[in-house]
């Protein structure tokens, strides 16, 4: 077993990029401020120094152009990584992602591949406000042809980044701003994490919590607290929304009979609805209580810290909801 080192999530993701860029000269990286500056979140730090302008190129604020370029380059045999920085800004490029990147392999009858990675950070990190906090990753999951990755740990972000770059199709790689400077163990040596493999972060027998991204951390905190009350919580991090590891979730629900889905995104028409429908359909006879969901309130994202806290699922809210679930 390779030893673990403790490094920042963002450093781990850069390592993943670096390693893949060294392995394959057709991988290049574009985005705003990702060159000499190393990225707004230091998410490309060191790449420009190593690979130069040719493969690590600062971009103007042209998300549509950037992603369109990524599509074209991928179609023409390169392996681009387009850094949108804030997930919210990806809206400018949605047409290129949804109408172009996602469809080309299918529509060309498999003749053309689009090995494109579009990277961005989602979520709230203390009042980032309405234009810099969204979590609409489920929109991409809804589009056939796109893979959607949500790493929640330093190990995962590195392993999944490498897999994303090696994937022959378009991958939407969504980190969480909050994670970037948080340290976590990362093994030395070469490793990748496959898509479609959920991580059972914590085993339990009374309730299953399916949580995404930052909510995984909240769920783990809640589970530790609930343990003291004698409630045993199993926490599952899907890691990739597409492809989704249905099997792990269903097995867990078969065991516990109770499911709480915790998402920083809004519940209505969000991914949590998909997971709930999946479980209601395929694990119906294992459910001892109705499926429960905790998500952001159905509002735009307020800047004000009090309002923001009221809008987003908290550890306390998770604890309270698990207690209610167990009693119901």
């Amino acid at each position: 077993m390779p030893e673990d080192r403790s490094i920042q999530y963002v450093e781990a993701s850069v390592e993943g990029l670096q390693e893949e860029m060294r392995l394959n000269s057709s991988v290049f990286y574009i985005g705003q401020g990702i060159g000499a500056r190393g990225g707004n979140f230091k998410q490309s730090k060191g790449l420009w120094e190593e690979f130069g302008d040719k493969r690590v190129r600062d971009m103007p604020i042209s998300e549509l152009g950037q992603v369109g370029m990524g599509v074209g380059a991928a179609m023409a045999g390169a392996r681009p990584v387009v850094d949108i920085v804030f997930l919210d800004m990806i809206m400018e490029a949605m047409g290129q992602i949804v109408e172009q990147a996602a469809t080309i392999h299918y529509t060309s009858n498999g003749k053309i591949k689009v090995p494109l990675v579009v990277r961005a950070a989602m979520g709230s990190a203390r009042c980032t406000g309405p234009h810099h906090s969204r979590c609409f990753y489920s929109w991409f999951a809804h589009i056939p042809g796109l893979k959607v990755v949500l790493p929640s740990s330093a190990t995962d972000v590195k392993g999944l980044m490498k897999t994303a770059i090696r994937d022959d199709g378009p991958v939407i790689f969504i980190e969480h701003k909050f994670f970037y400077n948080k340290k976590g163990p990362v093994p030395t040596g070469e490793f990748t994490i496959p898509f479609g493999q959920a991580n059972v972060c914590r085993k339990g027998k009374d309730v299953t919590i399916l949580a995404m991204s930052l909510m995984v951390w909240h769920a783990m905190d809640a589970a530790a607290q609930l343990e003291k009350e004698g409630i045993s919580v199993e926490v599952i991090d899907p890691r990739t929304i597409v492809p989704f590891d249905e099997q792990t979730l269903l097995e867990s629900v078969h065991k516990t009979g109770r499911l709480l889905i915790v998402d920083e995104a809004q519940s209505f028409c969000g991914f949590s609805a998909e997971a709930a429908a999946m479980v209601a359909s395929k694990a119906f006879d294992s459910l001892d209580a109705p499926v429960s969901r905790l998500g952001a309130l159905h509002t735009p994202h307020p800047f004000n810290p009090v309002l923001e806290a009221a809008m987003l699922p908290s550890v306390d809210a998770i604890v309270t909801e698990v207690r209610r679930l167990v009693a119901s």
């Binding site: 119906f284 006879d285 294992s286 209580a289 969901r293 987003l312 809210a317 209610r324 009693a327 119901s328």
Partner: protein, 372 residues
């Protein structure tokens, strides 16, 4: 408006508490001032009332879960639509079916275990039957077949006793015997019988042997009243009363007179074991001449048993223990055995009964007579 129900502070030292019992479930209506739950602290159990009228919109902790004072544990609201609470779970309109709510998991488990859902109390929200409720019902299910047999067995015993009390004129004779010689002989024979038959020789075995010998001596007791005449018996079969886990049983040792005591002990042991496992054949409980009921092991000094018709009599034995006894005009302390023989007067008069009891007494006080 919605009221937050919190774990209350009852007394300055209280820092945490639990709900001993919810008096209302989520979904129930409640009046202002109506008791909602009972709080349990290390010092006191106390009822807590609802601060408002409305519905218990949710129950957030289970009974017996300890939480800090001030923790929100439930809500009481005007209507079942919950007010928006920070990051509240998505409320869906629950379509309420008629009849009890059952979770799909509970339904499946009930089907697997063969448990009838009707009548199971549901501990879930809105009285929903959940897996734990089904399992609780399964684990506490009455042992159906044994109950039935117990019921009918009880009935049979009752009938028999009624019959005995109602139709059999009975009288009782008492003897107190010196059980010293008996004890001594038993002690001497313990090891031999253990090694030969693998059983522990008991006083019951001696009593049975004594009764067998006595019946040979006083054959008039080996008979039964049949409607209008005394019917003599062939064979000496002795029943001995014992208590199985569920009921009184009287296995019968056939041909007890022909068995040396060690073999009789083994037979007694076998029948006892079968009786305790509920595996006695009905034929092993029939055709007794008379019955021994030994309550000595239960500390009873002496008692009077009820004749088990059509048997002629029943011998009740008490505890062998040190008692005051007169030997040769001297008051001494001896281990004594008190026997009470209850006789069916239609089969035997007092003198015949007395002779029978005397024969038993002699065999007990002079155990060597058991060899004759």
């Amino acid at each position: 408006m919605t009221h937050e129900i919190v774990m209350p502070q009852l007394g300055i030292t209280m820092t945490e508490g639990s709900v001993l019992r919810w008096l209302k479930a989520a979904g129930d209506s409640i009046e202002k001032g109506e008791p909602l739950f009972i709080v349990q602290t290390d010092k006191v159990d106390m009822e807590v009332e609802s601060p408002g009228k409305g519905f218990v919109t949710d129950v957030l902790i289970q009974e017996e879960v300890v939480v800090p004072v001030g923790t929100v544990i439930a809500h009481v609201g005007d209507s079942m639509a919950k007010a928006a609470v920070a990051a509240a779970p998505v409320e869906s309109v629950r379509v309420r079916r008629n009849g009890p709510l059952v979770s799909p998991r509970a339904r499946r488990v009930a089907s697997e275990l063969g448990v009838d859902l009707a009548g199971i109390p549901g501990s879930g929200e809105f009285g929903r039957i959940r897996e734990c409720d089904v399992r609780a019902m399964f684990n506490n299910r009455p042992q159906k077949s044994e109950d039935r047999s117990a019921t009918s067995a009880r009935k049979r015993i009752a009938e028999k006793m009624e019959e005995s009390a109602g139709t059999v004129p009975q009288f009782s004779l008492r003897r107190e015997l010196d059980a010293g010689p008996l004890s001594a002989v038993r002690d001497q024979l313990l090891a031999v019988v253990e090694s030969r038959e693998g059983v522990r020789l008991s006083f019951t075995d001696f009593l049975l042997k004594a009764m067998a010998v006595a019946l040979k001596e006083v054959p008039g007791m080996n008979a039964s009243w049949q409607k209008d005449h005394i019917e003599p018996r062939t064979g000496i079969n002795l029943g001995f009363a014992l208590q199985s886990p569920t009921r009184l049983l009287v296995p019968v040792i056939t041909g007890a007179d022909q068995l040396p005591i060690s073999r009789l002990a083994r037979r007694r042991s076998e029948l006892s074991a079968k009786a305790k496992e509920g595996k006695l054949d009905p034929r092993e409980m029939q055709d007794g001449s008379c019955t021994l009921s030994n309550l000595g092991a239960f500390g009873v000094d002496e008692f009077q048993a009820i004749v088990n018709p059509p048997e002629s009599c029943i011998l009740a034995a008490g505890r062998i223990g040190p008692r005051p006894f007169v030997i040769d005009g001297q008051l001494v302390v001896r281990p004594t055995l008190r026997l009470t023989l209850t006789v069916d007067h239609r089969v035997a008069d007092g003198v015949l009964g007395a002779k029978f009891l005397d024969a038993i007494a002699k065999a007990i006080e002079q155990p060597l007579l058991l060899l004759a």
